[in-house]
């Protein structure tokens, strides 16, 4: 039974899978990307306004407003989990950020010392208040993410129930801290804040730039780090992940923290564009975010998903919304159509996997 070691392995019985049958070409993301391209062409002929610079900027800005949170929730979906608290998280982080900003800038606030010129000490360092308020907003997101992750990974609660509860808890906390009134970014750094959240660089909206940077970072993390590989393994076969020694609890907590941070950042950016953080901000956004992720090819059963899919899903939803507006269709149709697309996207993928 001695086996010759040196002879190289030959693949006489195992063919190589053709290039168009693997990778992105065989994924739901690929089909949806194709559908998006077709849709863009149709839109171009349907409306002369669609490909104008102004409208493109508008589209880019609008989909960036949910896409960063979609990147975050995609991490969670790949592990086979779900996070329903992203909408509330957006609101709460935005609210905390603008409240901290106002509070730190206000003369007479008990938390800050006054300098000789009548401004607060913090206000004399340009950008410091901005930095502290954004960190505060992200800080509460971090805490919420840790609590989600702890309940799901350590206590073993179902992600759906845990984050459904968190949706309500976080929204409620938002009403509590603001008395239901919402809050506004204020003080000397408010202008920096608006520039960083709703400004543009050479005609490109800044949220879109953040999105591209974060999506590239996510691609590297998912496909070129051990953490990313463990995220996929967890969604593919959690038991196997456990048996091979992957720190399952830690990875799970980390994805919920990433998701909450992405939602928090998203909320802060949206509040800059709105000019305020109302207490009912981003209500039911979790549905848009999860819908975009699923349309883009993330599988709720876990194991599949990526940044390209997340963005493609968001763009598709926004192009349809924008298209309906340009076509002067009642905007009430929007939601109905989004639902149809979710089911269609998943259906096409199911038919494809039946065929192969």
């Amino acid at each position: 039974m001695a086996m010759p070691l040196e002879s190289p392995i030959t693949f006489s019985n195992v063919g190589r899978i053709r290039w168009w049958q693997r990778g992105i070409f065989a994924s739901q993301t690929g089909y949806v990307l194709l559908a998006l391209a077709v849709l863009l062409v149709i839109m171009h002929f349907a409306s002369p306004y669609f490909f104008t610079e102004g409208n493109m900027q508008n589209v880019a800005k609008n989909f960036s407003f949910i896409a960063i949170a979609t990147l975050g929730v995609t991490f969670v979906i790949i592990t086979g989990g779900i996070d329903l608290s992203v909408g509330s998280m957006m609101c709460f982080s935005a609210m905390i950020a603008s409240m901290v900003m106002t509070e730190l800038s206000a003369p007479g606030s008990p938390l800050v010392h006054m300098a000789a010129d009548g401004k607060t000490v913090l206000a004399n360092v340009p950008g410091l208040i901005l930095l502290m308020s954004i960190l505060a907003g992200l800080g509460v997101a971090l805490v919420v993410g840790l609590v989600n992750g702890f309940c799901i990974a350590v206590l073993g609660l179902s992600p759906f129930v845990t984050t459904l509860g968190m949706l309500s808890i976080v929204r409620g906390l938002g009403y509590v801290v603001s008395n239901g009134r919402g809050s506004f970014p204020g003080g000397p750094d408010a202008d920096y804040f608006y520039a960083l959240t709703s400004g543009d660089v050479l005609g490109v909206p800044v949220p879109f730039i953040y999105l591209v940077i974060l999506a590239l970072a996510m691609a590297v993390v998912l496909h070129h780090t051990a953490f990313g590989r463990h995220v996929f393994a967890l969604g593919g076969n959690e038991k196997a992940a456990e048996l091979t020694g992957i720190p399952v609890v830690r990875v799970k907590i980390e994805v919920y923290v990433i998701c909450a941070l992405a939602a928090g950042l998203q909320g802060i950016i949206i509040s800059g564009w709105l000019g305020s953080a109302p207490a009912n901000m981003a209500t039911s956004y979790e549905l848009n975010v999860i819908a975009a992720a699923v349309i883009g090819g993330a599988n709720l059963a876990g194991g599949i998903g990526g940044p390209l899919g997340a963005i493609v899903g968001c763009v598709l939803l926004e192009v349809i919304r924008n298209g309906l507006v340009l076509a002067q269709v009642s905007s009430y149709w929007q939601q109905t159509l989004v639902g149809v697309i979710i089911i269609l996207a998943v259906l096409v993928d199911r038919i494809r996997s039946r065929m192969t």
Binding site: F11, N237, T244
Partner: protein, 252 residues
Amino acid sequence: MTNVEARPVLELSGVGKEFGAIRALHDVDMHVLPGEVIGLMGDNGAGKSTLVKIIAGNFRPTHGEIRFAGDAVHFNRPVDARAVGIEVVYQDLALADNLTAAANVFLGRELKRRFGPLALLDHKAMAARALELFGELRSETRPDDLVRQMSGGQRQAVAIARTRLSNARLVMMDEPTAAISVRQVEQVLGLIHRLKEQGVAVMLISHRMPDVFAVCDRVIVMRRGEKRADKPIHETSPEEVTALITGAKEAA
């Protein structure tokens, strides 16, 4: 065949396990020498799986002591058992089928390259090493193919290749030949021989009598949670082993 003077790589004395009122395992003594292939046989519910899971660190024994390479060991998790050099090929193979063959082989111990503060996966090195391992197993498995698209034998090869990454001193295989083709059974048995040549001890848990008699040096028969026989393979016969498994013969 076996080196009688050698120190056992694994020694169990008086190992027992109770789940509430159920006695799954009672007073098992056994040892495994380096380079020895042991066939562990028994009917469903005989205690084979419990024994394997205790050795692999999934369960802690209620009674008794486990010694590995002479030292008493206490495993709390499978990772602990793996750290000392015990590898298990699980029956359901424990593969993530959304990942490639190479990714599965290296799952949990990825090769990385440092780029400043970043440690990025070394895809090339992992694919090359995986291809080498598949070559050793004579398995036509491409490192970059998804496990989802693979045959039962290829999956088996991926799971076995995983144990070859570390310097395992004891490899336990749970029904490795149950779900694969005749030709691939030959390959798996060949691999067991290769492990043996390198001084690795193998515990083969199998229902397939011909496979056990083809590769094992010694056979251990479990029945009703107890060890009923522990014999060199050339001193027994498939008939006797069958009788021991079914209870027609109480002990040997």
